[in-house]
């Protein structure tokens, strides 16, 4: 895979060829600090794109700039070819679902949802119909006259969604809408939001720090670090073919070992050579997904072209669907995940084990030869 890709343009578009929502060299400065640094991204009509990254990476700032709530220091934002960078928020025709839902406490649910339609001066009859339809879409019919304070978190979130969607915006923006929900509800809502978005065909940008959400819901994932785009790609791209160690370790769990690149698709570690798909020279990082590693007894046998390490088990964690082994491979810890099969752990602490994995599953990042 390539080196750290800074500011890569997403999708199959070259710079200059815009998608439905196009962000060009967008930046936000606070004096010397840059919370968003020359970010460029292109989003197709009907796509659900995740802005994924740790806190402070600038994803929410980027979303707010798209919405117009935070003014951009430089750069452009275009929707369907029209520049909206200077357009005030209330003229941008975008729906925003806030992390805290931001429902109007003094209005009923129906009035909340109707708000955007009233701003657009639609006839009262039409408003009533559309509000009813929106509430049904989020399974909240029958609660029109409640106030937000009378609803649970999940229900409030659905109202927020209905309110943002009922106006049929060109773009839907979601700012970590699921983080205030408990785990079960989160999974449910995730699917609901995705279903609605696909059904309506609405272009959406979804900010989250939860990579499971991003991978599960979105057509494309844009991984951000320190104000810049690290990688843009499909969930599979980003998971299987991370562009750099940051993306690799942020998206999904991964093992990380410092190695010495020897060229010729080989790296050295602990006086052993490991086969890789790419060549690197000099200090490098080798990374392997825990569930791509097979764990077996250390009986001296090696299977063919597999990369292999020996060690002994330090910890066994049972999480129901998985068994996680922490294996000490000589000063470094290596994590292995194996599916449980209803039987007790195959290995116990202090067992000597052999780990094996395929070269195809071996990621390596370093200087090209």
């Amino acid at each position: 895979m390539s080196l750290d890709a800074i500011g890569s343009v997403g999708g199959s578009h070259a710079p200059g060829e815009a998608g439905y929502l196009s962000i060009e060299a967008l930046s936000k400065h606070h004096g010397a600090a840059r919370s968003v640094d020359s970010l460029s991204l292109s989003i197709e009509k009907g796509e659900l794109v995740a802005l994924l990254g740790p806190s402070g990476c600038g994803k929410t700032t980027t979303l707010r700039m798209i919405a117009g709530l935070t003014p951009a220091t430089s750069g452009r934002i275009l929707v369907a070819g029209n520049e909206v960078t200077a357009v005030p928020t209330h003229k941008r025709d975008m729906g925003l679902v806030f992390q805290s839902y931001a429902l109007f406490p003094h209005l009923t649910i129906a009035q909340n949802v109707a708000f955007g339609l009233e701003m657009r001066r639609l006839p009262r009859v039409e408003i009533r119909t559309r509000v009813a339809a929106a509430l049904e879409m989020v399974h909240l019919s029958g609660r029109e006259d409640r106030k937000p304070s009378q609803l649970s978190g999940g229900q409030q979130q659905r109202v927020a969604l209905a309110r943002a969607l009922v106006i049929k915006p060109s773009i839907l923006l979601l700012d970590e809408p699921l983080s205030n929900l408990d785990a079960k509800l989160r999974d449910e809502m995730r699917n609901e939001i995705r279903d609605i978005q696909t059904r309506l065909g609405i272009t959406a940008v979804f900010v989250t720090h939860d990579q499971v959400e991003a991978l599960a819901m979105c057509d494309k994932v844009a991984v951000m670090e320190a104000g810049r785009l690290s990688q843009v790609g499909t969930p599979e791209d980003v998971y299987e073919r991370p562009a750099n160690p940051f993306v690799a370790s942020f998206v999904g769990r991964i093992n990380r070992v410092a190695v010495e690149g020897r060229g010729n698709n080989a790296v050295a570690f602990q006086d052993q050579l490991f086969r890789t798909e790419h060549s690197v020279i000099g200090p490098a990082t080798m990374m392997v997904r825990p569930h791509r590693v097979a764990i077996g007894t250390d009986d001296g046998a090696r299977s063919g072209t597999a990369n292999s390490l020996r060690g002994h088990v330090v910890r066994v964690t049972y999480v129901g669907d998985l068994l996680q082994y922490d294996v000490d491979i000589g000063g470094t810890s290596f994590m292995v995940e194996a599916a449980t099969r209803g039987i007790a752990a195959a290995f116990r602490v202090r067992d000597a084990v052999r780990l094996e994995w395929q070269p195809a599953d071996t990621l390596v990042f370093g200087a090209a030869p």
């Binding site: 209330h90 805290s100 309110r163």
Partner: protein
Amino acid sequence: MNAVPGAGASRRAVLALLFPIMLVNLIGFIVPMLNLGLLSFKEALTGGGIGEKFTLANWVTLVTDDFNRELLLNSVGVSLAITVAALVLSYPIALYIQRAEGLWRSILIVLVISPLLTSAVVRTYGWVVILSDQGGLPSLLNAIGLTAPRMIFNTTGVIVGLTEILMPYMIVSLLAGFGRLDPRLEEAAATLGASPIQSFWRVVFPLTLPGVALGCLLVFVLSVSSFITPKLLGGGRVFLLATEIYDQAIVTLNWPLAATLSILVLVLFGLVLVVYGRAVAALD
């Protein structure tokens, strides 16, 4: 029998703790108020004495005399004008303070409250200087070409001066009521297509209504009971319940009539409180 053992004892303890303040309230407030009520039924002798007999004459005068009706209408009218003016002027200030942060916000709050540290008399005299025909605001307005209205020793002066004097109360009440405001709500309104004006009228202002109601109550009541400012700025031309009570008690020495008017003011306040209570209940 008490369902909860010790409940009777704890109730008695609560009553015992409340007793001192209830006694103070009784002696300092209830009894004088009852005295005032009694006084309103006494006869006022020409020359200023208080007679021994009981009579309804004061109450009859109150209801039938045109002047007293005028007093009431004037007081309510002027106070309403002051309340509205104070609200309109204070709201932007309070909103600005609400949105300010850190040290600047604290400085602003101190600036708003510090006039209350000065006595109303001093502040009113300040207004006498500002509104006077020579060297005051009117001469400034005339200098830039506008014809200034007379603003001293008339109702206009009273309204201007009293509005400013009472504004700190309005601002503080509004700030207390701004607690429900969340900048996110205004952002949400904007994303839904509300212009800043629409966002204000549909989201911000309705949320602040409890604070608005409280501020209006406070300013209205303080305005009706204010007599120093109307006396100093009114030039003997502004007749309000409060100034009349003062005149009857201190100059004419007609304590029974003064007492009657005082009770009228008390009843007025009672009505205002009822209206306030209904308004607040309706808001929730």
